[in-house]
């Protein structure tokens, strides 16, 4: 696990309000599993105080480069857009439990900024279809095209692919050995239901507000169900962010 200042190579807007930031870290690129995240300190001062969790979009072990794709939603991500090449970013990572890479035919189903964490995974799966939903403008579509057998697109306003929800792009998921999903909760809930109906293994990446990011403070609680049916709060940062769909509740 790394904790240090990493040099930024680029930080550019790739779709409206969505940026890609690339930084150098041979160690993180080497160690990263798809679905893991880094915990980033934005700004030097006491405000914003907390680090921000951002998923690893792409880890290029050959070049020693990590790519993050982030959406500007609040103060932290706004300040992050002001970083330029040559500046350093204070990064901890890779953190959390990522997606298990399964042999066989798989699908990744993403929504909004939740498409980003699926790219590294898609590139490592031997056989993968991608269903990507966007608000309007798409991003990283060519890169999904380059590593997936089939890519289908949807957007809320019809700018990218079909107009409507990404979950309307398929009726059944039966053809897959595993499905991976990341995005808005209602979308993931729908994917979870469909996988359950079709008897397909499903992995979900959750988002919870975080403090430490390493498993020490218990603020990132995510409701999970154990094999015996009992409910618990797991740590999204350490036990997740990726959970088996059978396990994660998605109800709060």
């Amino acid at each position: 696990m790394v904790y240090k200042d990493c040099e930024i190579i680029s930080n550019k807007e790739i779709a409206q309000g969505i940026y890609e930031l690339c930084f150098v870290s041979a160690q993180i690129a080497e160690a990263a599993e798809p679905g893991q995240f880094v915990h980033v300190k934005i700004g030097k001062g006491l405000d914003p105080l907390l680090r921000r969790p951002i998923s690893i979009c792409k880890a290029d072990a050959g070049q020693g480069v990590i790519s993050l794709v982030y959406q500007v939603v609040g103060r932290g991500t706004k300040v992050l857009t002001e970083y330029g090449p040559g500046e350093v970013l204070d990064v901890m990572g890779p953190l959390g439990k990522g997606f298990p890479v399964i042999e066989g035919k798989c699908a990744v189903i993403g929504g909004g900024i939740g498409n980003a964490p699926l790219l590294e995974l898609a590139s490592r799966l031997r056989s993968c279809d991608a269903y990507l939903g966007f608000r309007s403008q798409g991003y990283k579509v060519e890169e999904f095209n380059a590593c997936c057998s089939q890519v289908q697109l949807a957007s809320d306003d019809g700018t990218t692919g079909a107009k409507g929800f990404v979950t309307a792009l398929f009726d059944s998921l039966k053809q897959y050995d595993a499905v991976y999903t990341c995005g808005p909760k209602p979308m993931m809930r729908r994917v979870k239901e469909m996988c359950k109906r079709d008897g397909v293994k499903c992995y979900i990446s959750v988002e919870e507000r975080m403090g430490c990011g390493v498993g020490a403070c218990l603020v990132c609680a995510c409701k999970t169900q154990a094999a015996d049916g009992s409910l618990h709060y797991s740590k999204a940062c350490k036990d997740g962010p990726v959970f088996d769909a059978e396990e994660v509740m998605l109800d709060e």
């Binding site: 006491l46 105080l49 403090g211 390493v214 709060y233």
Partner: protein, 301 residues
Amino acid sequence: MSNMAVDIAGIRMKNPVMTASGTYGFGREYGEYFDLSLLGGIVVKGLTLKPREGNKPPRIAETPAGILNSVGLQNPGVEYFLENELPFLRKHDVAVIANIAGNTEEEYCAMTEKLGASVDGIELNISCPNVKEGGVAFGTRPESVYRITQRVKACCKVPLIVKLSPNVTDIREIALSAEEGGADALSLINTLLGMAIDIRTRRPILSNIVGGLSGPAVKPVAVRMVWQVAQAVKIPIIGMGGITTWEDAVEFILAGADAVSVGTANFGNPFAPVEIAGGLKAYLEANEIGAIGDIKGKVMI
């Protein structure tokens, strides 16, 4: 060479820097970043008699230079701690303090008995703002502070630290009650009760509605309270609340603390407690101060 060692009512530590309960789990996670033996002490996550799942998320809200948390004492229970977490901590040369919280005086005593002499000290958490029963209810009235301290002290085999709530009108009164009840040391402050509202949804950010404020935002309140308590009592004081740098630690010691605890600062910088210990040592040496104790309470009024 300045002497960094401190003795808090019999708890001997190689340096005065500890980590605050609830921000440091049981040490394992941060132990991946550095050798925990570099710390003076570790105060573990608040324990209860039975495992607790804690409050619904969201449990954290960021506020200017601070955070609100409403974890609600999620923990695996005192027995699990003894069997599965303490042995790991014991592999390190570091003082281990168990922080305990209960719903009744009997629960506090039962936990104290179970812990016996397995830890170096017990911190009585009567100041958690995030649980409905117990917790802070014990910590805000002088009579109940006196009573619970006395009862737990009677069955406590190790030094007893009473952790004070800042959510009171006069902290000196509470501190004195704990001292009279038999506390061996005091620690302060726990979090300040606060609230944050999302103006877009008009809902509180925390699902518990209110939570405990910590981090740099609370530091001036904490320094003031440590100073006031130091005037009032004779027992040692562990100061905390927003400590992020060694300069902050010096400020608490000048106000009257014998040792300090680092909480929220760990989230930003996992090395914070180690850097604070290093900075304190350099400060003592640069100023030719023989020992930490030499500057305790030396604020010039």
